[in-house]
């Protein structure tokens, strides 16, 4: 017994100590995860709920937008134009006003998104070939909402005029906007949104899982015990990240399956590559969440830090707005966010059938972001209670 207690005999220095300790941590995290029924339920239900909610709710070609009509004259042509507009399903005539003040007030207050004015003498001017203006005022505070409806206008007015057979040749309306969405307006928005949601949902769930991991140990007092044992910061980190890679992978599979089955999004590229790069993206987010948990003091701060990171991820990654449309400085910030790169990856693989060769830059960017986060986490992890 005494020989075994000699301090200089490092009896426990067996090979693969690093992996043994990482494994110990991994098993512990898994057990804790399985025991936490609520969290476990969230892993399954959160992505499903979010995808169904956002997949159906977010629509960049919205329809039946409230519209006010100002009829300065009551003519057949005016009525057939309005009829044609209503038939596009973009517009829903909710108000008919008699003067310009009322018209302006409705737009100002947001009760309508569009106002259409048929001016006095419109039909006569058309018949004379004077190409009068059909005034359309749009509430452009939400350019996405207004965009497709506006683009549909030019076409509609033209067909209405042709239908009425006024004049010899069809009049060319004064607005030159083309309706891009005319072939398949509803589906195109969904095709873009669903792959984006894969990345967005994963970012949110993965960040929060690991962002709470270290702070939870500190708040529950278990960190003191953990630190008194011979485990290194790298082992703690890997042990805490690895179980959630599997969790993230299950989530990603779930989301992509729903996207394909329910929303009819195709996967034109390689499924294996999608799986591999998704796993990389999941790990990168877990590493960033873990980094937050080593930087903050408590679980509340960890949640706040995650949200601080999540918001720009949504706004500057190209999920909500076209990346190329952002100013240069915003694009630089966007390049630092894993979601930006993953969106390109997932959209390219699913919708364009891209190969790894096409996506090399974004894959490398994800690896770099992951390594940077892990380095910060390991250096910031406090080995003592000082």
């Amino acid at each position: 017994m005494n020989a075994a207690r000699d301090p200089r005999i490092a009896a426990r220095d067996r090979p693969f100590g690093f992996w043994r300790r990482t494994y110990a941590m991994l098993v512990k995290e898994f057990l804790q995860l399985l025991r936490d029924r609520v969290s476990f339920g969230m892993i399954i239900f959160m992505p499903v709920m979010q995808l169904l909610l956002f997949g159906y709710a977010i629509n960049t070609t919205p329809r039946h937008l409230p519209t006010a009509v100002l009829l300065q004259e009551d003519t057949d042509l005016g009525r057939s134009i309005l009829k044609a507009l209503e038939n596009t399903a973009y517009f829903r005539f909710t108000h008919e006003v008699r003067d310009v003040e009322q018209f302006d007030a409705l737009l100002m207050s947001g009760q309508v998104l569009f106002g259409i004015e048929i001016p006095r003498g419109f039909e006569r001017a058309v018949r004379r070939g004077e190409r009068p203006a059909l005034l359309v005022a749009a509430d452009a505070t939400d350019p996405v909402a207004a965009g497709s409806a506006l683009s549909a206008l030019g076409q509609i007015a033209q067909t209405a005029l042709m239908h009425d057979r006024v004049g010899g040749e069809p009049a060319i309306p004064p607005f030159e906007i083309r309706a891009h969405a005319r072939y398949n307006p509803a589906a195109s928005s969904r095709l873009n949104i669903v792959p984006g949601l894969v990345g967005t949902i994963l970012t949110m769930t993965m960040l929060i899982f690991t962002a709470l991991s270290v702070t939870r140990e500190i708040e529950r007092g278990t960190m003191e015990n953990l630190l008194s044992m011979p485990i290194t910061p790298v082992e703690v980190m890997l042990g805490k990240i690895l179980p959630y890679v599997l969790v993230g992978f299950i989530q990603a599979t779930l989301i992509v399956s729903i996207g394909v089955l329910l929303f009819g999004v195709p996967i034109l590229g390689s499924l294996i590559m999608l799986a591999l790069l998704s796993t990389l993206f999941i790990t990168t987010n877990l590493a960033i969440g873990y980094t937050f948990s080593t930087l903050v003091q408590n679980q509340l701060q960890a949640m706040q830090a995650s949200m601080m990171f999540f918001l720009p991820s949504i706004l500057l990654s190209g999920f909500m707005f076209p990346f190329a449309g952002m100013p240069k400085w915003a694009q630089y910030i966007g390049e630092c966010l894993p979601l930006t790169h993953y969106l390109r990856i997932v959209r390219s693989i699913m919708l364009k059938g891209a190969s790894l060769e096409n996506l090399r830059y974004d894959a490398i960017a994800l690896v770099v972001l992951m390594l940077v986060a892990m380095t910060i986490a390991v250096t910031r992890f406090r080995r003592t209670l000082d």
């Binding site: 067996r14 300790r21 025991r35 007092g221 630190l227 011979p230 003592t384 209670l385």
Partner: protein, 317 residues
Amino acid sequence: MSTEAAADPIASDIAIEVSGLSKSFNGREVVHDLSMRVRRGSIYGFLGPNGSGKTTTIRMLCGLLTPDSGEGTCLGFDIRREARKIKRLVGYMTQRFSLYQDLSVRENLEFVARLYGLRDPRGAARDMINRLGLNGREAQLAGELSGGWKQRLALGACTLPNPQLLLLDEPTAGVDPKARRDFWNEIHALAAEGLTVLVSTHYMDEAERCHEIAYIAYGHLLTHGTVDQVIAGSKLTTYTVSGEALNGLAAELTGKPGIDMVAPFGVSLHVCGRDQAALEAAIASYKADRRLTWRRSEPSLEDVFIDLMNSSKDNFQ
């Protein structure tokens, strides 16, 4: 008392040897110039009021805190530079229960066994469950155990990797007397196997179960030695008074010059003074009272500690 001594083979029967340890938090000094030496295989009691720096000292010994100044060795390893090696050989039982509440008894023990790289984590956990008498509870969540069982499990977890030194921070706080007695029997059994145990406590009866004790207050180590040495070194003159109307007497005596402490002990009263002549003078008139019986006695350990605390309060606060 130099650190070189620890590396010396002759000193290998010394488990802990530190000198001049100091630690401040936000400018407040919690431990001041603390030196101590703990022999291998002994049970060393660490006593002192709340906030006296006991926990901070223990944390410095096992590498959880870095001392601001001072140096020393723990099991022959430098406490500043070789914390990792110390951690492999030290079992630390924290004041607050710090195992995973949402893991079962068995899972907690297996986690510790795996982390220390034990050959057969499942077997080691099973053996420990048997040793602790936790059979039938191994699947229970640690958080659902009663205070006594929690403390038992915590002790089991920190002895599982077969450490050479146990650091126990108030292990018996809030535990019933039976569980406390069992706990101390276990500590003595471990010490008999050659384990060194440093245990902090508030309880005087526990102090008397230690081979050696040290008393710390306001970050200063005030006295150390065996219980008898500490009592003998106190230079307190103590009288035990029994009789009628002791409550009134206690109030009268308290604060009189020469009388440093008056404490009721059941049906008797302990009256202590650091200066024997002054004490005798102060109580002379009361000794004549025939309703009271005055008997010269040894101060109890508690008398000594309360007195140390009172006098140190004047010195350090």
